[in-house]
Amino acid sequence: MKSLLAILALSTALTAPGLAMARPVTLTTTMTNYGGDGAYLALYVTDTSGAYVGSLWMAGGKSKYYEHLSDWYRATGGDPAQINGITGASVGAGRSLEITLDLADALFDAGYTLHVDAAVEDMRDSPNEVAIPLTSAGAGKAVAGRRYIASFTYDM
């Protein structure tokens, strides 16, 4: 169910090619012990020009706090339709978030970038916490975030 909706969410922005050709991708986000409440995370994709393509996941259920995920919020205007059905709980300090999605093949090696915006109550907002190009070669390679994320990987 989750993966189907993820495709749908993406398909609104990604025009048809290769919708049938998708593969399961596991996104793993591990938080540092930043000493605060649960972090809100927005995972989304931009194209070569930096334009917003679609959202993959929203960790954090209360829309009134989404404005703190400022890049995502600016790109979407906070539109709840962008994350309809792909929303989960916020991620606590030191915890991991693992999600598996069916992502279209066309997203890889085509200049798309996966972004993670992060925000924690009473702490700094960290838009663009992670920005990682989606390539076949980059799969499985962990990158660290700027402030809250200890490591982020996508595995195919």
Binding site: G35, S63, G77, D125, R146
Partner: protein, 735 residues
């Protein structure tokens, strides 16, 4: 009904509201501490100047935030490493860590969600809702108890737990209502149930594409004082499409990083403003003093929880189970009970048991269940009615008078009304009187005239029972035994006898203090703490009904002293009068705070006759602060029943007693204590005008005579005994 709305939410939500209140009280200190610790910006400092200073100190600055406390925090990146600090506005330099305080975070999470996230938030919101229900039902109860809104801060009487509960509540309720209602608003806001989202302007489609405008050249930053700042976000480095984002008390806007022009602006919506005000009222963030006041009021909640449970438990323990209660349609006797705290139910149970034993079929019900159409076989209807507050119907009698007034015709079965109350209250048995008057007005036949039982006197109840038995043609023995505290053996130390020559054998009996358990010493229970005017219950051999005597000594005196007069046929007084030193009686202590001298320094006028001198003598003996005491004492003959005649001159010499006026009723010119008052009318009126307090102890007739005399004496000054009673300046201990 209202009581149930107070009791059950209170008991169910006790733990929850206690956690809410305690954590809230601790959190309430935070804004004040932060306000004191935060380096404050100088007056007139603009956002442009502040931002320039911060940027000079931290070139990688991304965001500057200002908390309502005035604390300014900057967030920056320095060569890829994130940094943050509390900023000293005059220099732009960091002075303290910006990391959240872990204790505060822990308390906040406990306070709003019990660490259970949304489930916990809903539970805590339910706690806040319970708090609101408690507050409003409590307000209604206090208003009823004190006799209306105008008497909100009236003096309270009754047991300590109940008084403490109301004393705290009537001050703290305002803060609790504010805290609880704002909490519910905030919960609704958190769950997106309110249209109070921050309005963000649409991001500008086009920017100048230039970068590098100096902060001091941006008009809006130049004109915005730091006091209005919420947050300023800097554009990403090397991203010419990005902008400055400014949030102030008025709204949010985007500023061009090349031209400094305002590209878009959105004002704060009315809802958002309202939500922010509510947030401030709840947390004290931006209103530190209010926060402290609310926190202090919240501390009352645990105390009210404990005292509330004590009040409930005491009421519950005093309520007996009625066995073999007959249905209304089959009963010959209908027994209707109007009880507030439950003690009147005890009397009803005794009466029910005695009547049932005498072969009657009896139906007991609360007065609020009055349903005359179903009393088809009833031969008589008996009403036992307490009074609540200023003459109101007690809890279980709500609606009785309305229903009676609505009847076309009074029930055929005749009615007897017995009032229960405390004669130290101005509205003694007022509700029973109202019931009796309403019944008379309806033309309801009378089985027995209205009577009253003062302070749960089992003796009076037994006497009334004998009269009822006569009216019903059967022998009725009402041995009412309220739930008794455990008794102690008191051993007689000495006795002084008076009055044998005037046919009023009277004795001052002095008992040794009974040994106390450690628990009693620690808690002041039983005989560990008492003063003159408290009551000692004596349980005579061969009778389950205790008799109450006023104490003539305090704990400090080191003995238990009472004054007893032998009553013809009285089991208890006969037993006491027969005691020889070394003999013991079973006794318990009952506090009587309504008949203690207040802590003031104004003069006391003590009025008593016969054995009524007991507590008054105890008060004089304990008058170590030498407060001016005037004693009016009525006796039969100074040669025979002048109680405490040996001590009086000593007390006068020591200054414990200023003036002694005696009235002698046997002799050439019979003179009663009320006559003595009238003879001294000028002095008495002057003392009372100047704030003196009157305490009367003795028989009913004497007390009535004294009240009449005082009414006469006070009439010219516009005062009445009832007015003094309402102020707590006229108290009686009448038997």
């Amino acid at each position: 009904m209202i009581r149930a709305f107070h009791r059950w939410p209170g008991l169910l939500a006790l733990a929850l509201v206690t956690i809410l209140a305690l954590s809230g009280a601790m959190l309430a200190v935070v804004p004040a501490v932060e306000r004191i610790a935060a380096p404050q910006a100088e007056a007139g400092l603009t956002v442009a100047t502040l931002a320039t200073r911060v940027q000079a100190a931290y070139p990688g600055v991304e965001q500057i935030r200002r908390a309502p406390s005035g604390q300014i925090t900057a967030y920056w990146f320095d060569q890829g490493t994130p940094g943050a600090a509390v900023i000293e506005p005059t220099t732009g330099l960091g002075v303290a860590s910006a990391d959240p305080n872990q204790v505060e975070r822990w308390l906040t999470n406990l306070h709003r969600s019990l660490f259970l996230d949304d489930t916990g938030r809903i539970a805590m919101a339910a706690g806040a809702a319970a708090m609101l229900v408690l507050a409003f039902s409590g307000i209604a109860l206090v208003a009823r108890r004190t006799g209306g809104w105008r008497h909100w801060f009236a003096r309270l009487r009754g047991p300590l737990a109940g008084r403490l509960h109301v004393e705290i509540a009537r001050v703290a309720v305002l803060g609790l209502v504010l805290s609880a209602s704002t909490a519910l608003w905030m919960t609704a806001s958190t769950f997106d149930l309110l249209p109070d989202a921050t309005a963000t302007p649409v991001f500008p489609a086009e920017v100048s594409g230039e970068t590098g405008v100096s902060l001091s050249d941006i008009d809006l930053l130049q004109t915005t004082p730091v006091a209005e700042l919420r947050a300023l976000n800097f554009p990403y480095r090397d991203d010419a499409t990005d902008v400055y984002t400014l949030k102030t008390d008025r709204g949010t806007g985007y500023l061009d990083q090349g031209t400094g022009l305002t590209l878009a602006w959105a004002d704060l919506s009315g809802w958002a403003r309202l939500s922010e005000t509510i947030y401030m009222l709840h947390t004290g963030q931006g209103a530190a003093a209010l926060g402290l006041v609310l926190g202090l009021m919240a501390l009352g909640v645990p105390v009210m929880g404990v005292t509330g449970v004590l009040v409930w438990w005491a009421g519950r323990r005093g309520r007996p189970r009625i066995r073999a209660n007959r249905p209304a349609r089959q009963a010959e006797t209908i027994l209707l009970v109007g009880s507030e705290g439950g003690s009147t139910w005890g009397f009803a149970a005794t009466l029910h048991a005695a009547l049932t034993k005498a072969g009657q079929s009896v139906h007991v019900a609360p007065m609020s269940a009055f349903a005359p159409e179903s009393y088809t076989r009833a031969d008589r209807i008996i009403v036992l009615a307490a009074t609540y507050g200023d003459g109101d119907a007690p809890a279980s009698a709500k609606g009785f008078l309305d229903r009676l007034a609505a009847l076309e015709q009074a029930p055929a079965a005749p009615l007897a009304v017995l009032g229960f109350g405390d004669s130290s209250f101005p509205a003694y048995c007022a509700f029973a009187e109202a019931v009796s008057a309403a019944a008379n007005a309806k033309g309801w036949a009378e089985l027995m005239p209205l009577d009253s039982v003062d302070r749960q006197s089992a003796q009076t109840f037994a006497r009334w029972g004998r009269h009822l038995g006569q009216a019903m043609g059967l022998s009725l023995d009402l041995a009412h035994q309220p739930v008794l505290p455990s008794t102690r053996a008191l051993s007689l130390v000495s006795r002084r006898d008076y009055g044998a020559d005037v046919q009023a054998p009277t004795a001052i009996l002095r008992f040794a203090l009974p040994p106390l358990s450690l628990w009693q010493r620690l808690t002041g229970a039983g005989f560990a703490r008492f003063q003159a005017g408290d009551l000692v219950g004596i349980l005579p051999e061969g009778s389950p009904v205790p008799r109450l005597y006023s104490l003539a000594s305090a704990r400090r005196d080191g003995f238990v002293e009472i004054v007893v007069r032998k009553q013809p046929g009285g089991i208890c007084s006969s037993a006491l009068m027969a005691l020889a030193p070394g003999d013991t009686v079973k006794a318990f202590l009952r506090r009587n705070p309504g008949f203690h001298p207040d802590r003031g320094r104004s003069p006391l006028i003590l009025i008593g006759a016969g054995t009524g001198i007991g507590p008054l003598a105890g008060i004089i003996r304990g008058n170590r602060r030498l407060r001016p005491i005037h004693l009016f004492f009525g006796m039969r003959h100074p040669g025979s029943d002048f109680l405490y005649s040996r001590e009086m001159p000593v007390w006068k010499a020591e200054g414990r007693l200023v003036r002694l006026v005696t009235a002698v009723s046997r002799g050439a010119q019979p003179n009663y204590v009320q006559d003595a008052l009238r003879a001294e009318r000028a002095e008495v009126a002057r003392l009372i005008r100047d704030g003196a307090r009157v305490m009367v102890c003795g028989g009913r007739d004497m007390a009535a005579g004294v009240a009449d005399a005082l009414a006469e004496i006070l009439a010219p000054s516009g005062l009445t005994p009832a007015l003094l009673k309402a102020e707590g300046r006229y108290v009686e201990d009448v038997y």
